[in-house]
Amino acid sequence: MADDVKVKEGIDADTVAAAKALQSENYSAGFKTDIETEYAPKGLNEEVIAFISQKKGEPQWMLDWRLKAFERWQNMTEPGWAKVQYEKIDYQDIYYYAAPKRGAKYESIDDVPQEILDTYEKLGIPLREAEVLLGVEGADETAAEARTGESGSKVAVDAVFDSVSVATTFRKELEKAGVIFMSISEAIREHPELVQKYLGSVVPRSDNFFATLNSAVFSDGTFVYVPEGVRCPMELSTYFRMNAENTGQFERTLIIADKGAYVSYLEGCTAPMRDENQLHAAVVELVALEDAEIKYSTVQNWWPGDENGKGGIYNFVTKRGDCRGARSKISWTQVETGSAVTWKYPSCILRGDDSTGEFYSIAVTNGRQMADTGTKMIHLGKNTRSRIISKGISAGRSDNTYRGLVSVHKKSEKARNFTQCDSLLIGGDCGAHTVPYVEAKRADAQLEHEATTTKLSEDQLFYVRQRGLGEEEAVALLVNGFVRDVMQHLPMEFAVEAQKLLEVSLEGSVG
């Protein structure tokens, strides 16, 4: 490790040393043993599920839980109501378990399509890191080599070093605060009482087709527990680029903020993620107890496929937050630009009195992408409030649907909701649809809904270009203005990346 490696401000010497140790361990030992990939046989049955559970060293209760989900799933049918069309998925033609693999997807960087490399460059991701993300053979070694300081690329060293060292700082400080932040597999072994208590308590095993499938076969994911009265000292993030390859197709996330706790969690990555697994069906469960607050931000950029949408990711996600305690608050903020097909509705159950749910969303579709997203706000407690701001941008020949449900139950006195759905159309071949549902069982509910659809105007475009911006820069500027009130809810560093991502996603959308 070269001594002149740039260390992020505020990281102490201990951590740096620890990080150095950690890296060499990871990459001298880790790499070789991981290389064999172990698959469960193709298809889904009880043996496969038992195999997964056993591989993960799970206790019996976990296996039983999975099997019950599987039993249920076999009697379910795939939903067909979302405004998206995709090729039928053959569920018996999928591998449901593969040991964490580091196998190469490309033999050399020359095999990676140029357009993908260009995108990485535009997003400012160093080539070495891109190699690892894309799974180029030997990339881990070159990255490891970069770390030893023997190769020329300082940029890569910094970036790589950053993620590793930050991870270590995280672990230490979090331990001190009593925050549990680990993989869900670890949590099942180390904190079975917490997992048993909360897993499936927000998204029940039998919730919907994809969530039930996930319950049966989930491979891994994240577990967070923030104890009573603790304000998590930093943003928690899965955004360790170097580790991002393990996210898997059936991710399971469980976040619990105990009484008075606060946590902000960032998921995803602006880098275009390619995966030969077309189907992604994650489940995210959030639980906020009394006076607790959870902020969950997502930037997602799955590969949308080629210009005909071939090979893109199908992203069917169930995300739900439960404001279980009084005065609790959950907010979802998401920037979605990728996937061939997206189907997701992060929701809030406002169970506690005076609890608040928020949903801020930017969904961009271009090319032949289809997105059907939105939220559900379920008002159960008294004086519960929800706020929905959705910004849909459609370009190319894409289709972008907002589907929202605000439901006010009988006991939810004086519930309030404000919904604003804005759609921006770029060009004439794309579509935007707004489908707001309201179910109010009480007359004292205050529900406001505003919706606008605008076309990117020639007047605006010309005005901006007259001031010196090129066509694509002009579109990016106008789009950034359009999404500003949502962008503001993203953590700073995420917002900057998300902005760049919008620009890249909309390239070639005009002219």
């Binding site: 001031r467 010196g468 090129g470």
Partner: protein, 253 residues
């Protein structure tokens, strides 16, 4: 020098196609300010759009050059980088984009296109404050989204703000005086005069003599029937203000 030679242009789709400019010739040497007057619908704004590259116009003949460079062959943003600026008759709203961000992004884009360094943030802010001071635009207004909710007069002042920030080689002011109160008119005129220099020139489109009282133009042209039908000194504007266009239109008919 801006040189328009026998410029003709059409506008609109097939059936509704219409010839607006018809053999227009005009020269504005560096360092000079020229005014263009003319009846409603004469084609003044069309000329401004044509020179700045708005879509929807078809040049059917003639040339337009700035310092010898063919303007009509350039993209709008390249014209801007070459110093062509238009103060819009109807400034456009850009929701969500604060004035400061907008102007800074635009200026840096121009600089980049010219191969110049970006302006530093402190330098930019200092300049914005100074010019805001001259034009009576306070810092609050500069934080708001471009033109959104601005009054008519505020929008026009913001156009001049941008012009003074960018210091363009050649500015076109399309009825910047319309909708301004008396004080704002003086403020805007001061801004314009402050920008006058031997390298810069301007084309001021107006219907009224009063702006020209504050900005003494070197020449006044009358645009009608798609071309310049008469040119003269500042006294031509006074004559028009007094007699209207009838007399002049009669002369050329």
């Amino acid at each position: 020098m801006l040189k328009l030679d026998n410029l003709s242009a059409r506008v609109g789709e097939e059936e509704s196609e219409k010839t607006i400019l018809n053999g227009l010739s005009l020269e504005v040497p560096a360092g000079e300010v020229h005014a263009i007057m003319g009846p409603n619908g004469a084609g003044k704004s069309t000329l401004a759009y044509l020179l700045t590259g708005r879509e929807g116009y078809e040049v059917t003949g003639g040339t337009a050059t700035l310092d010898g460079k063919d303007l009509l062959a350039m993209e709008p943003e390249d014209r801007a980088a070459h110093g062509v600026f238009l103060s819009f008759q109807y400034p456009v709203e850009i929701p969500g984009v604060p004035v400061m961000t907008f102007v800074r992004t635009a200026m840096n884009a121009q600089r980049k296109a010219r191969g110049e360094e970006e302006m530093s943030a402190p330098e930019f802010i200092k300049k914005a404050r100074e010019i805001g001071g001259i034009l009576n635009i306070d810092a609050e207004m500069l934080k708001r989204p471009v033109n959104v909710g601005f009054s008519g007069g505020e929008k026009k002042r913001l156009e001049i703000f941008q012009m003074m920030m960018m210091e363009p080689r050649f500015s076109i002011l399309d009825e910047t005086d319309s909708g301004l109160d008396i004080d704002a008119l003086k403020t805007v005129a001061n801004g314009v005069n402050a920008l006058r220099s031997p390298e810069r020139s301007m084309l001021v489109i107006t219907h009224y003599q009063r702006l020209l009282d504050h900005i003494r133009p070197d020449k006044v042209h009358v645009l009608a029937k798609g071309r310049i039908i008469k040119s003269g000194g500042p006294e031509l504007a006074e004559q028009l203000e007094r007699d209207g266009y009838d007399g002049i239109l009669g002369e050329v008919a």
